[in-house]
Symmetry: C2
Subunit: 240 residues, 2 copies
């Protein structure tokens, strides 16, 4: 019976794909995904039936993938990072009807960015998206507040949306109620994609104009420090 | 110049390792890790110089790996999941002195468990370890409280420690101040390791005796629901 595979391909670079993601793409007849993500796959999808659509076409992609499985084709729908975090796993399971679905996890951008910054996450952390396309801004603000109050390391996805440009500024304002101004902040652009750019700064010194939609921010907790240009969050004690 | 690679091998099964993790292990002369993790690697480490130690030997392993790099050997130190979350990246960077270190990210257990449960994370989430070996219990309690107050999906690592057995009960008690009793909870034992066991329950119905140290718990947010035995957290709207 044909199956729908929801595949997290990691941050973008082939090297961060899992063996299972690669194997599953190879055995799929049809590949569905957002155009730039399909491009990351390069020769892996050569000769396959490919359906790629623009950024806004998520639900359209899900419905198309489900339709292809019903037509008897093994179909892979592509997410970057992990398919189960801000990815395609949710919409597919909400829409799937009676077809068989397998979700293949991947390396999320926050972990890839962390590996490029040092070990900024390491301990308890909260992942928050600043996109208010699907979530009311009030909910996002409350989560930022509670995560900061709990002294979590905070990973910020979608720091800038085409619509409102001041989301990140507002988020930082809230975090500063609980986190020190000199809390280390790592900004990573194009994490895991070869052309990675890294900025190490502090909560009061973020250059907002340098943060784009493809950036991930990692804000430290009260123990996070910088040593040899690496952002380090200890696991709660001092090692010597 | 010899290098120290801190490698996140994913939840355990070979299939969830990234291409880079596999390639890096292959090119390393020396492999250092907790004995059961080394066992996951099987023939990948055949013929290599292997140093494996017990659970309490973490710092000992870090120091040994650093020593081997100073002796000119390319050395890989193994973490399960992602090396940067509750893994070896932090201790290594705290101890590394002047050697070159590269961190290779991986699939963390919460994402592997999520893929086996459906799409329970999907949106903003908090990762919290209940182990108080390195973190005061009061800090852990506060984080559980704030994460629940912020309506985060919550992924619980180390739900049971050999020492105190009532950590999870206490955590649930705190979460019930903000989350409904019928909030879906997914418990996954040995996620991504072939012998995976899954329990779908609710916050008031957790069978604590079935939760062991190798279990990951995912507690839903206020929108999480169960359909066809799958735990689904929507991305903040209804798709139809």
């Amino acid at each position: 019976m044909a199956k729908l595979y929801v595949i997290g391909i990691g941050p973008g670079g082939r090297e961060h794909m899992t063996l299972k993601a690669v194997e599953t793409i190879k055995k799929s007849d049809i590949i569905v995904g957002y155009t730039p993500y399909i491009d990351y796959l390069g020769d892996l999808v050569k000769g396959k039936e490919i359906y790629s659509t623009g950024m806004k076409g998520e639900i359209e992609r899900c419905k198309l993938a489900i339709k292809k499985v019903k037509e008897g084709k093994n179909t892979a729908i592509i997410s970057t990072g992990d398919a189960g975090l801000y990815g395609m796993a949710g919409p597919i399971l909400e829409l799937k009807e009676d077809i068989e679905v397998e979700i293949i996890p991947g390396v999320t951008a926050a972990f890839s960015a962390a590996s490029e910054l040092g070990s900024p996450i390491m301990h308890d952390f909260a992942s928050i998206s600043l996109s208010d396309l699907l979530t009311p801004w009030e909910v996002i603000e409350k989560r930022i507040e509670k995560a900061a109050e709990g002294d979590f390391v905070i990973a910020i996805y979608n720091p800038r949306s085409k619509g409102r440009k001041d989301h990140l500024e507002k988020a930082v304002e809230i975090m500063l109620k609980y986190k020190e101004g000199d809390t280390p902040v790592g900004i990573v652009k194009n994490s895991g994609r070869g052309n990675t750019e890294i900025i190490l700064t502090t909560l009061v010194n973020i250059s907002y104009e340098k943060v784009d939609m493809l950036s991930i921010l990692i804000i430290g907790n009260s123990n996070t420090y910088v040593k040899d240009d690496q952002m380090i969050t200890p696991r709660g004690y001092h090692i010597r």
